[in-house]
């Protein structure tokens, strides 16, 4: 029986088994390859997407558990926080190999929506589940601070 998924504002009907991890459906069925397969066991964060705005690891999220919730992938990340994060990532030239970066960005967007002016400790707690083999952590932290300043409401 087809399963309906709301992905980036559109309804997609997929015929995959209900216990298929969302990541596989996003990449292989829907062609949304911006979300990356890193470890497959929810350890690295490369597959992070938002479900109803909350970051989740799509490699460990069966599609029959999504229900009517809204899935947002890196391709559909929009809004002031997403724009500020993207601009900061480019300005800081954050990625090195880039493989983990879509997951990093999705977590960073969620962080700014939760804590608009995060401290270093906030960043560590929120981003601790996103690993980077190139160790771009310092640039990620700096870019998040840049994006936070850019989205700050002028007083």
């Amino acid at each position: 029986m087809p399963i309906e998924l709301k992905v980036n504002g559109r309804i997609a009907r997929v015929d995959d088994d209900g216990d298929t991890p969302l990541l596989w459906v996003l990449r292989d069925t829907l062609g949304l390859t911006g979300t990356k397969y890193g470890c497959g066991i929810a350890q690295c964060g490369a597959c992070t997407v938002h479900i109803d705005g909350q970051p989740v690891r799509s490699c460990a999220f069966p599609i029959d558990a999504v229900g009517a919730s809204a899935i947002t992938t890196i391709e559909g990340a929009v809004g002031p926080e997403a724009d500020a994060i993207r601009a900061a990532w480019v300005a800081r030239d954050v990625p090195q190999c880039g493989f983990c970066q879509s997951g990093q960005i999705m977590s960073a967007i969620a962080l700014l929506r939760t804590a608009p002016q995060p401290t270093d400790a906030d960043i560590d707690r929120a981003m601790g589940g996103n690993l980077c083999r190139c160790a771009t952590y310092n640039r990620i932290r700096a870019a998040i601070h840049d994006a936070a300043r850019a989205t700050a409401t002028p007083t």
Partner: protein
Amino acid sequence: MSARPRRRRRIGCLALLAIVVASQILTVALLLRPRTMPAPSVIPIVSAKVDRVSLRPVAAFQAIDDPAARSVALFREAGRVIQHPRCLNCHPRSDRPNQTDAMHPHLPAVMRGPDGGGEPVLRCATCHRDRNVDAAGVPGNPKWRLAPAEMTWERQSLGQICRQILDPARSHMSRDELRRHMAEDELVGWAWHPGGDRAPAPGTQAEFGALVAAWLETGARCPA
């Protein structure tokens, strides 16, 4: 008769170009030739073999005449569940859970957060669903979260744990609530169905619940 001068053989540029182009076409054709790919096949999920350990039934303690000694013995038997990694991992001594049978600090470094379910962005539910997800090897339950900080069990003696769970200020439970928590709570029950290669808690939840009930009925005495 004079000999005709021998002319050097010349190879035209066009011929060389033709050879180069032909070899390139041949290479591309070889690379792009249709090949039969392996047919996709279903990889069966092989359940890891885990050893189940039994609990002694309540009846096995009837031979202890002294009610206080019987009560302590019952709690010691229940303690084999209470101090099992399936339980201790989410009753940690810090704000960070442990994981695996080796009880090492949880990776990623998720923290307790305001409600025991993690920090706002890195929550338990970032990875854990309402059931075990075999495809990723990630355990889960609808109530997945840490026990309250007042209920630290890691590195506590069984006697300390006993006195803690009997103290409503720390356990937040009456004795009847405690009995039901141990015997019926679905997150506690996950300890016997942890999935993957995780060792389940000894016995069954029903047997554990019966031990706890018998311990409470015999005066809820604690080991030293």
